[in-house]
Amino acid sequence: MHRELIPTLEEKARNLRVSIIKTLHRSQSGHTGGSLSAIDLITALYFHTLRHRPEEPAWEGRDRFVLCKGHAAPAQYVALAESGYFPKEDLMMLRRLGSHLQGHPDSKQTPGVEVCTGSLGQGLSQACGIALGLRLDGGDHRVYALLGDGELQEGQVWEAAMSAAHFRLDTLCAIVDANGLQIDGEVAKVMGVESIADKFHAFGWHVTEIDGHDMGAILAAYAHAATVKGKPTVIVARTVKGKGVSFFENKASYHGVTPSDEELPRALHSLGCLEKL
């Protein structure tokens, strides 16, 4: 691994956090906490691990990414814009009438989005279908699916987990953004899902558990997942909801709340962004 890679990706993730905050401040609607917890995982995918061609979104050789926790769309959108799928100015139209950036990912409208998500619990199944389809064509494409930890409460996730192991989908890599929070509070209090690792293990998956904000660990986990044969891999990424903005961190109340005018400069300051607004 190139020595500069990790700091470069860390800097990229920091900039994307800034972009998420500005985007959500402009839209005044959208999901802040889960976008910030997932952005390191997403940055590593889009700017290192994924094979993709932003100038050719339908390129057949591309790896696929499914944002199962579709409410974190801002995190995917800033990564897509930064990659060059569409102009960064489009981000300012998030959730507006007529915008191609819908509240939740829409494959018909946004270049680089593979399937439609937003209703939790369906994305992993779709990712399995993509992996099955690509395998029929003899490809070695990899399929990444990012889930929330609250999302694991959906029974369909476990139907998908069962089928992915049954079909030995070793091109599939699920990532759980385990930030410990959902809308109504702590996952453990709403409806406990632990041990996530043991559950996936029992379903026949290869399991890795990492710090989801440690760029080196993220890259290593993705690289390792690609070497696992005969079974799918899940990366249980321990994260902090709202990560990077001190006063958003670990607060369920910032799940679906956007930065106010008053919070914006403080949030950017917290991210080490000192630029004048």
Partner: protein, 315 residues
């Protein structure tokens, strides 16, 4: 001599042909491949058949993923478990993205028979029809089914193609050209029109013959495609015959009768009687007994015709 054949059998054999012709065709089932007849495909093309176990929600979304990877997935189970259990999956993962997924359930309606209400889907047409981007088709016989299966395989986009369990009379011959969204006038008439779908079209043809002897001239308009509705033929029927009786193996709420009522009240208010399951659940029994019990017979249609003609005359 009337030929009898089940629509699900025609589905099974047509899938086999499609499997040969088009390598993109894949099939998913949820532990009912013997009943839905996808088992034939499974045997011949095991690598393109996915038994998803008893997990319909996952099956539907997996099919959406396969479609995103360029495949043409056919998804089968019983109608109640496809449309009912996986409704929101169909809505979010299939219809919203216009995924090229063909949901082809068998065992639609009450003729499931002995299994009873838990297995008898009388709401599926209504709930599938309500979803934007969905096409909803209910063929009348095996010949039309084979043609419809081919048509939906070439059509790009989501389809709900509802099939039945039992043998039904074969009405069409091989010269029949099925087109999605197009109805067919099966018998002409000027006093009223039976607008029917699925197995009720055969009953409408009998009813039309019976009524002829009473001096009543009943047109039979078969609408295999319930969405999009063939507004042209329906409007002709309303304007030219002035009375409509719908017939379907489904609740009178929201299915063909509902669709026709919506259309007529907006475009050509016309006396209408809906024949179908009258806001009730199904029940156990033999298919033939059940059709009589629920009035889904030519006699039921004839009664409805007499009632609608009274209202037409009173206008």
């Amino acid at each position: 001599m009337i030929q009898m054949a089940a629509t699900r059998d025609a589905y099974g054999t047509t899938l086999l042909e499609l499997g040969d012709e088009n390598p993109a065709v894949v099939v998913l089932d949820a532990d009912l491949s013997g009943s839905t007849k996808t088992g034939l495909f499974a045997k011949k093309f095991p690598e393109r058949f996915f038994n998803m176990g008893i997990a319909e929600a996952n099956m539907v979304c997996t099919a959406a993923g396969l479609a995103a990877a360029g495949k043409i997935p056919f998804v089968s189970t019983f109608a109640i478990f496809a449309a009912g259990r996986a409704w929101e999956q169909i809505r979010q993962s299939v219809a919203y993205p216009k995924a090229n997924v063909k949901i082809v359930p068998t065992h639609g309606g009450i003729t499931v028979g002995e299994d009873g209400a838990s297995h008898q889907s009388v709401e599926d047409i209504a709930i599938m029809r309500a979803i934007p981007n969905m096409t909803v088709i209910v063929p009348a016989d095996a010949v039309e089914t084979a043609a419809a299966v081919r048509a939906v395989a070439s059509f790009k986009g989501p389809v709900y193609l509802r099939l039945g369990r039992n043998k039904v009379p074969t009405l069409f011959d091989n010269s029949y050209r099925f087109r999605i969204g197009k109805g067919k006038v099966m018998a002409d008439g000027c006093d009223l029109t039976f607008v029917t779908t699925g197995l009720m079209t055969a009953q409408a043809l009998i009813a039309s013959e019976v009524l002829k002897k009473e001096g009543i001239s009943a047109r039979v308009l078969h609408l295999a495609t319930i969405k999009p509705l063939d507004g042209d033929l329906l409007l002709d029927a309303a304007l030219e015959t002035g009375a409509i009786v719908t017939g379907e193996e489904h609740s009178i709420i929201g299915g063909l009768g509902g669709a026709v009522a919506e259309f007529l009240s907006e475009h050509a208010p016309t006396p209408l009687v809906r024949v179908g399951v009258n806001d009730r659940f199904g029940t156990s029994g033999k298919a033939e007994e059940l059709l009589k019990y629920f009035g889904l017979t030519h006699e039921g249609l004839e009664d409805a015709a007499r009632r609608v003609l009274e209202r037409k005359g009173a206008r």
